[in-house]
């Protein structure tokens, strides 16, 4: 009896399967769809606050943080039971956030407020608010925990914030509508995607200067439809998977040469993504088609589409019970 009824699992608070889960926020359904990685099926649908977008787990996976944008709060949920434990003061319209390596501070982009808010998740207090550009969205923190990046969509900048002083140390212009940022290669590079610019800019972290610009081209897809948003790296840091929004493809980028090696077909308006615990599969949220595409990382082929809620946005992995 490896399977149990979903409702029963929920009531008993048992972890459903050992292979882990992908948690997907459904922006227009105010729910999270939990996908079981073994069965590739939705096993739970959990209600959240309004317009859930960013989602991330605490380091020990005992709590999941959810940006409930239209409820103006970050919700803290027990992932076993799906119960909301408490809300965090997040500032207005939290869209996306990053958990600092100290596991204690959430750095939150307040999209409607042109502010980045730093919240202490233990004391549940706001530690700092930093004025940034219009519509902050992409958030990244380096491994050292010394620098946080906020990208602002309408101001078209990456703001480099010193985590010790909460002061902005630099502002670098990027192409139009930056959406997502990540530090990679042992903090030596910062990657920033630009949705309307259609590019990913690679900065050297030390110089804060542009090192490369990655562009995309898909036969039969108009360049204006190619809108890079979320991206993820393989653990070896050599390969990046870049979601291209309404181009309905994920690009596979060689992170050494900055060349695109392949394009993988997904559902419509592909947004964000998360790997399975063993990194053999990649799950992409497809905003318009309301589903998740499962990609086999080794063969770079889509395996399956999984129907989730309306306008799936964020994705986060929860490993199976040990």
């Amino acid at each position: 009896m490896t399977r149990c009824l979903t409702a029963l699992c929920l009531i008993l608070g048992l972890p459903a399967f050992a292979g882990g889960e992908i948690w997907v926020t459904n922006e227009k359904d105010n729910t999270i769809s939990v996908i079981d990685i073994d069965s590739l099926e939705v096993t739970r649908t959990i209600p959240t606050g309004e317009r859930p977008r960013g989602i991330t787990f605490s380091h020990d996976y005992s709590r999941v943080y959810i940006c409930a944008s239209d409820s103006d709060t970050v919700q803290v949920m027990d992932p076993q039971t799906g119960e909301i434990l408490h809300d965090l003061p997040s500032g207005e319209d939290p869209e996306q956030f990053i958990l600092h390596p100290d596991d204690r501070h959430l750095w939150i982009a307040n999209e409607d407020d042109a502010v980045t808010t730093v919240v202490d998740v233990d004391s549940r207090t706001v530690v700092a608010q930093i004025n940034v550009g219009i519509e902050p969205e992409g958030m990244a923190v380096n491994e050292a925990g010394s620098i946080v990046i906020t990208t602002s969509e309408t101001t078209n900048m990456a703001h480099w914030i010193d985590t010790a002083t909460h002061g902005i140390i630099a502002n670098t212009l990027v192409d139009s509508r930056p959406r997502h940022a990540e530090f990679v290669k042992d903090d030596t590079e910062l990657w920033v995607s630009s949705e309307i610019g259609g590019t990913v800019t690679v900065f050297g972290t030390e110089s804060k200067e542009e090192r490369a610009k990655i562009t995309f081209e898909i036969q039969g897809v108009h360049p204006d439809r190619i809108q890079p948003v979320g991206f993820e790296f393989t653990p070896d840091g050599r390969t990046a998977f870049v979601a291209l929004g309404p181009a309905n493809h994920v690009a596979v980028v060689n992170a050494e040469t900055y060349e695109v090696e392949e394009y993988i077909l997904t559902g419509r308006r592909v947004w964000h993504m998360a790997f399975s615990p063993d990194h053999s599969q990649l799950f992409t949220t497809n905003g318009v088609s309301g589903d998740v595409t499962v990609i086999d990382v080794a063969s770079r082929k889509p395996l399956k589409s999984i129907k989730v809620g309306r306008f799936p946005w964020g994705a986060a992995m929860r490993p199976g019970a040990s």
């Binding site: 319209d93 999209e111 409607d112 042109a114 004025n131 550009g133 219009i134 519509e135 602002s152 969509e153 309408t154 101001t155 078209n156 900048m157 703001h159 902005i168 140390i169 630099a170 502002n171 670098t172 212009l173 990027v174 139009s176 509508r177 949705e195 309307i196 610019g197 259609g198 110089s207 804060k208 200067e209 542009e210 108009h222 204006d224 439809r225 309404p246």
Partner: protein, 385 residues
């Protein structure tokens, strides 16, 4: 040059005087709106200006990180006032104007000796001729032309295979111009005209729509869609569900092609809408959007070039590198042959977006947005050559 500038900008300029300052005047001719049967949708007193104000805020937020300052002054000219005198004063202060005025005013301002070398943005006049034979090198357009709106609607109808069109036209000159644009566009996309009628102003539609409209529309030949050309949205709202045949309505009621509407939510538009509503206390309309886009386009050009020189900014706006994130799903840019802002056109009802043109399958060798309105060969504009 762009790279060098874009590379790195250390620190903040907060507190110190900006390294560069760009002032814009929003110049408005107050034109009393025509009387309409319904007073459900009053024209806001700050229509257009509120969009420019939001553009100012957006630009200032960006500018604070770059040492770029922005300013906006608004000038309202009464219906009988001397707009040229006000324009001269504004141009003496700054070469950047966002103009919300009828086409005749616009051309007179653009032709002022003081305006040569200035940069003017038309944010309210839909006349297609301003983008063609009447174009001016110093005049850009952020509001779509009637031809762009009509093409968007016809693409929407063609992709539904709703090919047979009847048309009711209102009595005002704008209605007739709108009807002419609809007919020209219907011919362009090979849709079939199935009869026309001119609206009789004498009817009181609030009481008698159920009696008047069936009789009025009974005369039209059978059609798939009933178009209504009524720019002030005076009588158009009373047509739907009162027609002789059960047919959808489009144009100035029912499904409408618009530059902007409160129902546009996708592509991050929800954020622009809520920023605007928080500031203005009302939904954003098409002329607000056009004024916002004009100021944002200028701001984007300043950000990327680090210059406030009108010639530099004009060249950047018309060059291949400029793109504006306009919350419509595609980058917006200016047509180098007539200064018109390329933009997707949502087809909306009062409560939802039905579709967004250009529709899938309407292809173009360069940019699909150029399937809407005057493409290079269609425009008689030579001032930009």
């Amino acid at each position: 040059m762009r790279l060098a500038f874009a590379s790195i900008l250390l620190g903040l300029w907060a507190g110190s005087a900006p390294a560069l300052e760009l002032g814009v005047t929003w110049l408005h001719r107050v034109v009393p709106p025509p009387p309409t049967l319904s007073n459900l949708d009053p024209v806001p007193g700050d229509l257009g200006r509120a969009g420019a104000e939001l553009g100012l805020r957006d630009n200032r937020t960006t500018g604070q990180f770059l040492g770029h300052g922005y300013a906006l002054s608004a000038a309202d000219v009464p219906a009988e006032g001397d707009i040229l005198a006000v324009a001269r004063d504004a141009l003496a202060a700054s070469p950047f104007l966002i103009v919300d005025a009828p086409a005749a005013d616009l051309l007179a301002i653009a032709d002022l000796p003081e305006a040569q070398g200035a940069l003017l943005f038309n944010a309210a006049a839909p006349e297609t001729a301003l983008r063609s034979q009447d174009c001016r090198a110093n005049l850009f357009h952020t509001l779509p032309s009637r031809a762009m709106l009509a093409d968007a609607l016809m693409q929407g109808l063609a992709s539904k295979r709703w090919t047979d069109l009847a048309l009711i036209t209102g009595p005002r000159p704008g209605d007739q111009a709108w009807a002419a644009a609809l007919k020209a566009s219907a011919a362009k996309f090979r849709l079939r005209p199935r009869g026309e009628a001119v609206w009789d102003e004498a009817a009181d539609m609030r009481r008698n729509a159920a009696q008047e409209v069936p009789l009025f529309t009974q005369e039209l030949r059978d059609h798939d869609v009933l178009l209504v050309a009524d720019e002030a949205r005076d009588f158009a709202r009373y047509i739907a569900y009162n027609t002789w045949l059960p047919r959808p309505v489009a144009g100035s009621a029912g499904m409408m092609p618009v530059a902007w509407s409160r129902v546009v939510e996708q592509w991050g538009a929800a954020q622009l809408q809520s920023r605007f509503e928080d500031m203005a206390g009302r939904p954003m309309q098409d002329r607000d959007y056009a004024a916002w886009a004009a100021f944002r386009a200028l701001g984007e050009a300043v950000t990327r070039t680090g210059s406030a020189d009108p010639a530099t900014l004009r060249a950047y706006l018309l060059g291949g590198e400029f793109e504006l994130a306009g919350f419509k799903g595609s980058p917006l840019s200016f047509r180098p042959w007539n200064g018109q802002l390329r933009q997707p056109i949502p087809l909306v009802t009062d409560t939802a977006v039905v579709a967004t043109a250009p529709m899938e399958g309407f292809l173009h060798q360069g940019n699909e947005l150029d399937t809407l309105g005057l493409d290079r060969p269609d425009s008689a504009c030579t001032a930009f050559d």
